[in-house]
C-alpha cells in the first residue's frame, strides 16, 4: 500500500479542523495573556534593579519546570480555586482543559517577553532618553513615542520566541483535557500509530513556523515603517484566529463527551462508546489522552460525561483505601462511594485490566517460576520495568511487603515499549496489564498472585452526575455491559497496537462491536 493512500491520513485530516482550531485558540489566548502581564511588568521593572532580577529569576525558574508538569500542576490548583469560589461566591468554573492550559502556557511565555522587553528598553542610548525629556515629553510620552518604538525589534524577537514556545508546548495540554495537536501525538504514541505522531508533530511545527513568519512580517514592517507589511502580518494572524473559530462555532455544544485515559485500550473503549451513542442518534465527541488523575474529577465536575475506569484504580487512587476486598464486595463498596459524589456506575464491561508481573513464558518455565512467591526468591538478581505510575502505586508497596520482593534494578518505561523490552531480555520482569494483547503476541506469561494483594480491576462505565437521569445514554450503552470478555479485549488491544491501517481506535472499536454485539443488533 502506498504511503499516501493509507486511510489513517484521511482520518488524521478529518480531525484537523477541531485539533488545529483548539490549538490555535489556546495558544493565542495564552500568548495574549502572557503579553498583557509581561509587557507592563517589564516596563515597570526596567529601572528597578531589585524587581527586575526578581522577575527574571522567577520567570527563569518557571522555564525550568518541564512543560508537562507545569500544565498538570495547574489542574489541582484551579480545582481548589474553583471549590473556593463556589463556597464563597456561589459559582465555580471548570478547572479542566482550556483554563489551566492557558494559564500554564501564559506563564511559560513570560521569560522571553520579559527579558527582551527589559533588554530592549535598557539598550536605548541615554542621550536619546535625555533628548526625549528635554524636548518636553512626560515620562509616559517618552515611553510611547521614543522608548517602545526603539525597543520594538528586540521586543518582537522575544514575542516570536514566546509564540514558538507556546505553540510547541501547547501539544502537552492534551492530558489536562485541552484538545490540541497533541491529541495526534498522544493517540499515536499509545496505539503505535507513527503516521499520527508524525502528522501531529508536522502540524504543530508548520503552525509555529507560520505564526513566526507572520510576526516577522509585522516586525519588519514596524522597523522599516512600512505599514503595508505590518497590516499584512496582522491580517494574517487575525485570519488564522478567525479561521479556527468558525468550525467551533458551527459545531453543536450539546454533544456527549467521552473521556479516555492515555493508553490504547482506553482509546478503543471511548471510540466504542462514542459509536454506540452515535448509533442511538446522540451526538458524541471524545476527549482523549486525559491524565489518570484528571479524568475522574473531570467526570465529577461534568466536563466529560462518560468514561471507563477500573475498580481497583478508583478504590486505591481515588478513594485512598489500602485494604483489598474480594471482587464483588469491592464493587459494591465502590458504588456506594461513587454515589456519594453522584457518579453513576453503569456496570462492568466484563473484563479485568489488572496489574500483573509478567515475564517470558520460556524463561519462567526454565526458572520454575509460576507465581510471585517463586519470583521473590530470585528477584534480587533480576531487573523490573513498570509504567510511569506503577512504582508509586499502592499495589507495588503491597507486592513488596507481602512477598518481600526486591529487584536489582527498577526502570520506568512507556507502557507500549515494556512488552518488547521484556521479550527481548532488556529487562527480566515487567509490571504489565492483564488485558494487554501483547502478552499473547510476545509469548509472555502473567505470574499468579496467591496472596491476593493486587486488587481486582474490573472495567466499569462511569456516568457524570449531570447525566445521572439520562435514560437515552443508559439505553445506548447497556448493550456493552458484561459483553466484553478478556479474550475479546486482548485481541482488540493487540489490533490497536498493530501499527497498521486497521489499527485506528475507530476501526478496532467497530471490529470489537461486531464481535460482541447481541444477536439482532
Amino acid at each position: 500500500m502506498s504511503l499516501l493512500s493509507d486511510p489513517r491520513w484521511s482520518e488524521a485530516w478529518g480531525s484537523l479542523p477541531d485539533y488545529l482550531g483548539s490549538h490555535v485558540r489556546v495558544s493565542v489566548a495564552a500568548l495574549a495573556l502572557g503579553l498583557a502581564v509581561s509587557l507592563p511588568l517589564a516596563i515597570i521593572a526596567r529601572n528597578r534593579p531589585v524587581m527586575r532580577s526578581l522577575l527574571l529569576g522567577a520567570a527563569s525558574i518557571v522555564q525550568t519546570v518541564p512543560g508537562l508538569a507545569l500544565l498538570a500542576l495547574f489542574y489541582p490548583l484551579l480545582l481548589a480555586a474553583a471549590a473556593l469560589t463556589l463556597s464563597w461566591f456561589g459559582f465555580g468554573f471548570s478547572a479542566f482543559g482550556f483554563l489551566p492550559a492557558v494559564l500554564a502556557l501564559a506563564l511559560y511565555s513570560m521569560l522571553p517577553v520579559l527579558r527582551n522587553t527589559i533588554t530592549g528598553l535598557r539598550g536605548i542610548e541615554p542621550q536619546v532618553l535625555e533628548a526625549a525629556l528635554g524636548v518636553g515629553m512626560t515620562p509616559a510620552q517618552s515611553l510611547r513615542i521614543v522608548e517602545l518604538p526603539l525597543a520594538l525589534p528586540v521586543m518582537m524577537a522575544g514575542i516570536r520566541t514566546a509564540a514558538v514556545w507556546v505553540i510547541g508546548t501547547a501539544t502537552l495540554s492534551t492530558p489536562i483535557g485541552q484538545t490540541s495537536l497533541g491529541n495526534y501525538i498522544f493517540a499515536g504514541l499509545q496505539t503505535q500509530n507513527w503516521v499520527l505522531v508524525l502528522f501531529g508533530c508536522a502540524a504543530a511545527a508548520l503552525l509555529a513556523l507560520a505564526v513566526d513568519q507572520l510576526l516577522a512580517l509585522i516586525e519588519v514592517g514596524l522597523a522599516s515603517r512600512k505599514n503595508l507589511r505590518t497590516a499584512l502580518g496582522g491580517a494574517g494572524i487575525a485570519a488564522l484566529v478567525v479561521a479556527t473559530l468558525v468550525p467551533s462555532l458551527a459545531s453543536t455544544t450539546q454533544a456527549y463527551v467521552v473521556g479516555a485515559k492515555t493508553f490504547g485500550e482506553q482509546y478503543v473503549l471511548s471510540a466504542l462508546i462514542a459509536q454506540r451513542l452515535k448509533a442511538a442518534g446522540l451526538s458524541a465527541t471524545t476527549r482523549e489522552g486525559l491524565g489518570s488523575n484528571v479524568i475522574f474529577e473531570a467526570l465529577a465536575s461534568g466536563d466529560i460525561d462518560v468514561y471507563v475506569d477500573y475498580s481497583g484504580t478508583l478504590w486505591t487512587n481515588q478513594f485512598h483505601h489500602s485494604e483489598i476486598k474480594p471482587r464483588r464486595q469491592l464493587l459494591d463498596a465502590l458504588k456506594t462511594e461513587l454515589a456519594r459524589q453522584n457518579v453513576t456506575l453503569l456496570g462492568e464491561l466484563g473484563f479485568e485490566n489488572s496489574y500483573a508481573l509478567v515475564m517470558p513464558k520460556k524463561q519462567a518455565e526454565k526458572l520454575g517460576i509460576r507465581s510471585v512467591t517463586d519470583l521473590a526468591a530470585i528477584a534480587p538478581a533480576l531487573s523490573i520495568a513498570g509504567d510511569y505510575e506503577f512504582f508509586s502505586r499502592p499495589e507495588w508497596t503491597a507486592l513488596r511487603t507481602a512477598y518481600g520482593l526486591k529487584f536489582r534494578e527498577q526502570r520506568q518505561m512507556q507502557p507500549d515499549f515494556m512488552y518488547a523490552a521484556v521479550a527481548s531480555g532488556e529487562v527480566d520482569v515487567i509490571a504489565g496489564y492483564t488485558s494487554d494483547g501483547l502478552i499473547a503476541k510476545y509469548d509472555l506469561t502473567a505470574l499468579g498472585d496467591p496472596k491476593g494483594v493486587i486488587p481486582p480491576y474490573d472495567a466499569v462505565v462511569l456516568v457524570a452526575p449531570k447525566r445521572a437521569a439520562d435514560q437515552a445514554l443508559k439505553d445506548a450503552l447497556s448493550p456493552l455491559i458484561g459483553r466484553i470478555d478478556i479474550a475479546a479485549m486482548r485481541e482488540a488491544n493487540l489490533r490497536a497496537a498493530g501499527g497498521n491501517s486497521n489499527a485506528s481506535a475507530d476501526a478496532v472499536a467497530r471490529w470489537l462491536w461486531d464481535k460482541i454485539k447481541p444477536k439482532g443488533m
Binding site: 536619546v128 533628548a131 528635554g134 524636548v135 521614543v146 515603517r225
Partner: protein, 262 residues
Amino acid sequence: MSGAPPQITFTHVAKSFDGGRVKAVDDVSLQVGRGEFLAIVGSSGSGKTTLLRLANRLIEADSGHITIAGEDVRAADPVALRRRIGTVFQSGGLFPHMSVAANIGITPKLKGESGADIAAKVDELLDLVRLDRSQFRDRFPHELSGGQRQRVGVARALAASPNIVLMDEPFGALDPLTRDALCDDYRALHEKLGLTTVMITHDMTEAILHANRIAVMRGGKLVAQGTAAELAQTDDAYVGELLSTPRRQAERLNALLPRGAA
C-alpha cells in the same frame, strides 16, 4: 550688564552626586541677560553640563535658587518649562526612528498644535537652518551628515518659538569648517530671533569668537565671568592658561601663514 532684567539667574546653586561625595556644582551664582549669548567654558568634569541641566530641571538642585524669566523653576511644571526652553543636545540627540520633519515638529506636536501648522513651521525652520525643504524633510537621522544632524537639532530647539536656548557642546563633534559655519549661522539666528543663549563648550576659541560673555568653570566652581577682554584682565592662573592657548595658536598661524597668501 545691561539694564534689562536677567532671563536666567543662578543664586548660590549647588548639586552633588553619589551621596555628596562628588560636588558637581559648588555654590555657583550667575546671571544671563535678555538677548545675551553666554558661553560656559571648562574641561570635562568641571560641572558645566550639570549647571545647564539644572536650568530646565532635568536634574534638581540641592540648594540655591534658579529663575527663568523671573520665575523660580521649582515652582514651574518641569514638562511645561522644557517646552518653553529650546535645547540643543550633544551630537544632536535626534530620535533615530523619526524623520527630520517629525524630529523638528516634536515639541509643537506635544503641545497639541495642528498638523498643518507644524508642517508649515517645519519648512520655515528648515529654511532658517539652511537645509533644503524637499530634500531633507523626509530623511532619517542616519541619512544625514554630522553637520546636517546638528542643524536639525537647532531647528528642533527653535520649533516651539522659545526665548531661551540651551546648547550642550552642540558643535563639539564636527570638523572645524562645518563647525565654524554652523556657529556663525546660529549666531545670526540668535540675533535675528532675539534669543537668549547659553552654550557650553570646552573650546575657548569658539567661546571668544561667538559669545558676548564667557563664564569659566573648574571643579564645580565658577572661577571667572565676563567678556573676553574682561577675562584677559583677571589674574586667575587657570583662566590665563585657557586664554593663552588660542592666542598662542593665532600667533603661530600668523607666523606660518604668509600674509596675503590666503
